[in-house]
């Protein structure tokens, strides 16, 4: 039997790659044994012994490390979910505004996209947190009576308290991701044949209705894959929470790792939790994509 040459090459390359991985993995295990660490997860059930500033579920310091990490994960999920929704709205508005015939609207949105995409996210978060929110006065401002109160500790909207850390992270992530989504949306709109615009105009539809009923539905197949990758970026960028003092999964595992000295296990958990989160996002976006393709 003759083995095709290309197959042989692939086999050799695969063998070499697995050898390299094997060496690296062996190195890890040997070093772990040498330094006497070894991998185990028993510490997860021990009491964490640290408080968290922000908890969506009941939590006290005597709860386990596992529960503390879960609370951190929920905090991550919370900020990702809200900024995902807001960034999408902002992105769609800014993206469509760039195709607008109104010069003012168009230049404002171009300026927004250009400005935000040139500045690193970390700097933007520092700006929102240390410059914008922490500069608010210590005694609450109440611009519209009891409905909204603002201070450099928390924001209260209709009786619901939101920490400034959450707000700064939410706004930072939303504005940053919104700019990228705007570009994705603009690209999608441009992918629709020019003739479609002309035809709805000639049918007498106004710009808004034409956009909603004719152009956007046709541009969705081009928008959704780009949108998915922006959502994944958003989820990953949320780990910058630690820079503004928000108790997300990364911040919690940071504390956990220094307290237990279990860096490798801590990172395994961190990686796994992000994998789950991002698989959730990709999974639901794939379903959405299939729906859109079917409509088309």
């Amino acid at each position: 039997m003759r083995i095709p040459k290309s197959f042989l090459y692939q086999l050799i390359i695969a063998f070499i790659i697995s050898c390299i991985l094997g060496v690296l993995f062996n190195n890890l295990i040997v070093n772990l044994i040498r330094t006497g660490i070894g991998i185990n997860f028993k510490w997860l059930m021990r009491p964490a012994g640290f408080a968290l500033a922000e908890t969506s579920l009941p939590y006290k310091p005597s709860d386990t490390y596992a529960w503390a990490l879960f609370i951190g994960w929920i905090n991550s999920l919370k900020v990702i979910l809200f900024s995902l929704i807001l960034a999408t709205l902002l992105g769609i508005i800014a993206g469509t505004a760039r195709s607008s015939s109104n010069l003012l609207v168009k230049s404002i949105s171009s300026l927004y996209v250009a400005l935000i995409r040139q500045i690193p996210l970390l700097l933007q978060l520092f700006f929102w947190y240390f410059v914008a929110f922490l500069s608010l006065p210590n005694t609450p401002l109440e611009p519209i009576g009891k409905l909204l109160s603002l201070s450099n500790q928390s924001l209260r909207i209709a009786g619901v308290n939101i920490s400034v850390e959450f707000c700064a992270l939410l706004i930072g992530l939303t504005i940053f991701t919104g700019a990228s989504i705007a570009e994705v949306v603009r690209g999608g709109l441009n992918s629709v044949n020019r003739g479609q615009w002309e035809s709805f105009r000639s049918l007498g539809l106004n710009e808004r209705l034409g956009l909603i009923h004719i152009i956007i539905p046709q541009s969705l197949p081009a928008i959704i894959p780009g949108l998915t990758s922006q959502y994944l970026n958003l989820a990953k960028n949320s780990t910058l929470a630690i820079a503004v003092g928000y108790a997300d999964i990364y911040a919690v595992s940071d504390t956990t790792i220094t307290q237990t000295g279990r860096a490798i296990e801590g990172f395994i958990i961190l990686l796994a939790s992000f994998l789950v989160l991002n698989l959730l996002i990709t999974g639901s976006m794939n379903i959405l994509n299939k729906l859109v393709m079917r409509i088309k």
Binding site: I12, I13, I16, C19, F130, L134, Q153, E165, A243, G245
Partner: protein, 350 residues
């Protein structure tokens, strides 16, 4: 094309395998690595005035930095042969374990889990600064006791024992609080100054250091109460006896020199005295004229002389960075020699 790729991959894998074996097979002490390299890689904070801080002229200065210099003087013979690596609290142990740095001299609290084989697995040198955790508040808040911090936001650095002590203390007092955690001490300070938190907590030395850099240090109060013991000590990777022994006796040499009144100014005078007077046997041993104390540690016999002429004794280091004439004045208190009622003592150099 494919051939090239394969050759490339093979050489890459050989290279990687090479790296892997060098790291695992070497059973040599890190001390030899340092000597052969001719440079000591020292992990510091770089952000705490008085301990390790970048000076106006771009040089690292401080007590922790001088410890690095004393080590370099003893191991290599030149206090300037140090490469400083600024590290954050969560990074520091990983940097030590992976061998990125040779030793850590970074306000690190000596405790059981960090020392133990099943914990972080480090080895600690003697304590170079006895510290304790406290709280700093703004004077205008009229807070004078920890009890008044009930239900408050407290700014704290994450990934430190500080966070654990804070929790232990508030749990003991049965008070609720909200920790606002930042990764970096400068952010903790910014959060506190901007009024995000009623109080910030850290080791008292760090609070004093931070306050010294505020525009109005007098408006801030460090509460009297100390909630923890924070013995700060240099550390090296566990299981390397030659390096950890050498480090231990470098620190003791700094203490011992203070006990004997040997300093940077009179070191050569004392050395001459030792060389000419046969009766001063203990001094002769200490300065390496007689005996072989250095050799036993794998260091030059006159390593004490090399240290003292480079950095001076412990008292001189302390005066330089934390004394009344420095920017960060912290009274010596517990950090005095035992001869003056402090906690610093050196075992005999025999």
């Amino acid at each position: 094309m494919t051939k090239r790729l394969i050759y490339g991959l093979i050489s890459l894998s050989v290279l990687l395998a090479g790296c892997a074996t060098i790291d695992t097979a070497s059973k040599n002490s890190r001390l030899d690595v340092i000597k052969n390299r001719g440079v000591l890689r020292c992990g510091v904070s770089g952000k705490i005035p008085g301990f390790s801080f970048l000076d106006g002229d771009g040089q690292y200065k401080g007590l922790d930095v001088d410890i690095c210099k004393a080590m370099a003087a003893a191991f290599i013979g030149d206090p300037t042969k140090v490469q400083y690596r600024p590290l954050t609290a969560p990074e520091r142990f990983t940097a030590l374990k992976t061998g990125e740095i040779d030793l850590l001299s970074r306000n690190t609290t000596f405790n059981l889990s960090r020392d133990a084989y099943q914990g972080n697995g480090l080895t600690f040198a003697p304590i170079v600064f006895h510290d304790g955790q406290g709280f700093m508040v703004k004077k205008q808040s009229r807070i004078e006791k920890i009890n008044q911090l009930k239900n408050s936001d407290i700014c704290v650095g994450s990934g430190t024992t500080t966070e654990q002590n804070l929790n232990d203390e508030f749990q003991r007092l049965g008070m609720a609080y909200r920790p606002i955690k930042y990764q970096d001490l400068n952010q903790v300070i910014a959060g506190y100054l901007q009024g995000r938190c009623k109080a910030m907590t850290s080791d008292k030395s760090q609070l004093a250091a931070a306050r010294s850099s505020f525009s109005n240090p007098n408006e801030h109060l460090i509460l009297n109460k100390t909630i923890s013991k924070e013995p700060l000590a240099p550390a090296s990777i566990g299981g390397d006896q030659r390096l950890s022994d050498a480090m231990r006796w470098v620190i003791f040499a700094l203490f011992r020199a203070e006990e004997l009144g040997i300093n940077q100014n009179n070191i050569y005078e004392k050395l001459n005295e030792a060389k000419t007077n046969q009766n001063l046997s203990s001094l002769r041993r200490f300065l390496g004229v007689d005996g072989e104390i250095g050799q036993k540690l794998g260091l030059p016999n006159d390593f004490v002389v090399r240290i003292i002429r480079s950095t001076g004794n412990y008292a001189e280091i302390y005066e330089r960075h934390l004394g009344p004439n420095s920017n960060v004045h912290i009274p010596r208190g517990q950090n005095n020699s035992y001869l003056n009622g402090g906690l610093l003592i050196s075992p005999p150099f025999k």
